[in-house]
Symmetry: C3
Subunit: 162 residues, 3 copies
């Protein structure tokens, strides 16, 4: 009886309880701080997080002014800080992000091109660092606009609960 | 023997068969009708649904005219009605949607801005209502265009089979 | 003892190890080569793949020239070839793609409209063919831009490991 029971535990464990996240690196030893692909085993609890937009950088500024939300880097930092507090409430962290979609609006001060570098300046403070080396699979695109005038950044993520 | 068998059922059940969807609310008691994040346990059957675009509002109108597809609210209602019939065939419902991505094209009649309010008028008939209180995690962005000229709305969803 | 053990295997198998991908066809016998929805059972290993952008069609051309990346069809072929080699390293194939998001930039030579037909010419060489009949759930949108000037195509996929 005991033996069967032990085997049962083993079977259930091996067949089901093996939640594991594998981060496949980019080819050619690329140092770009995203994963080529992230793989999750069947026993993974997934969290789909809504898109996060920035809060105002200067709430006293005029709503439609540049100062209200700030530039792309400022907005991206706001987005990641908001994520941080959301993640804390959910009991997860940046290291649990497996997939990210980055939506950037073109910056009028850059001739309408998205400020990809500005976004990366914020991103690299949270991903691929010494304390938080995990990198998500990611897509990043320039879109035509966001719900709030002056908003330049929306970031959506999927997480694997550890 | 019976006891081991019962334990086996218990183990398998607890380790595997616990499909559960948790909808984490937005912070600060926000009444905006989306979830901050939606979490699904490992035993969830996921359905990735293709983007849904509207059917013609007036099939007799000229293909490139405003009347053909109508405004954003009209198109969003068409999208949700098409989803409804697709969901029926798949044996799921709006309450099973866990993640939504909304792609809106700028409305020429609104100076090229997306008609976010028009979209929300349709959305709120299907999500966060008394009969269907479930809200998905969501991102909504303004894109540059869709495959069909005059199309202003495409909505993509992920569902958890109940 | 043997009987209990066998029952255990059966239970574990039926409750957990049933990874299965169901591709629901488009309605009305549509021949458009995407699935209406793709469903994966709980025991599916998922791979989230980063967005893939094209490599240069003519690396000797000027970086900002049309010749460098080529037109949409050329870029889409480059994207799928890059995916192919990534998939090989990951031990998966095009038939394992369950969800695709297509981001196309408007082609200046087509009055700024995306070259949907050009993209489809490449896509249909990899999906819905005799050798590879599997079709993903898909969304396709025109975005405002990509990180590299001249880039017109980014494709993101989710795969189910077979």
């Amino acid at each position: 009886m005991k033996k069967t029971f032990a085997l049962t535990i083993l079977l259930v464990t091996s067949a089901c309880a093996t939640a594991e996240v594998t981060r496949h690196p980019l080819p050619n030893n690329s140092t770009f701080p995203i994963a080529r692909a992230v793989e999750v085993t069947a026993d993974t609890v997934l969290i789909y997080h809504s898109g996060t937009v920035p809060g105002p950088a200067d709430p006293d500024a005029e709503r439609s002014s540049r100062e209200y939300y700030g530039d792309t880097e400022t907005q991206a930092m706001s987005v990641f800080k908001r994520m941080e507090s959301s993640f804390e409430e959910l009991g997860v962290g940046f290291g649990d992000v497996i997939k990210m979609t980055v939506f950037l609006v073109g910056d009028p001060e850059l001739g309408g091109r998205m400020d990809f570098r500005g976004f990366m300046n914020a991103y690299t403070k949270y991903f691929g660092t010494e304390e938080q080396p995990n990198k998500p699979a990611r897509s990043a695109v320039q879109i035509a606009g966001l719900a709030g005038a002056g908003m330049l950044v929306e970031v959506e993520v999927v997480l694997a609960r550890p």
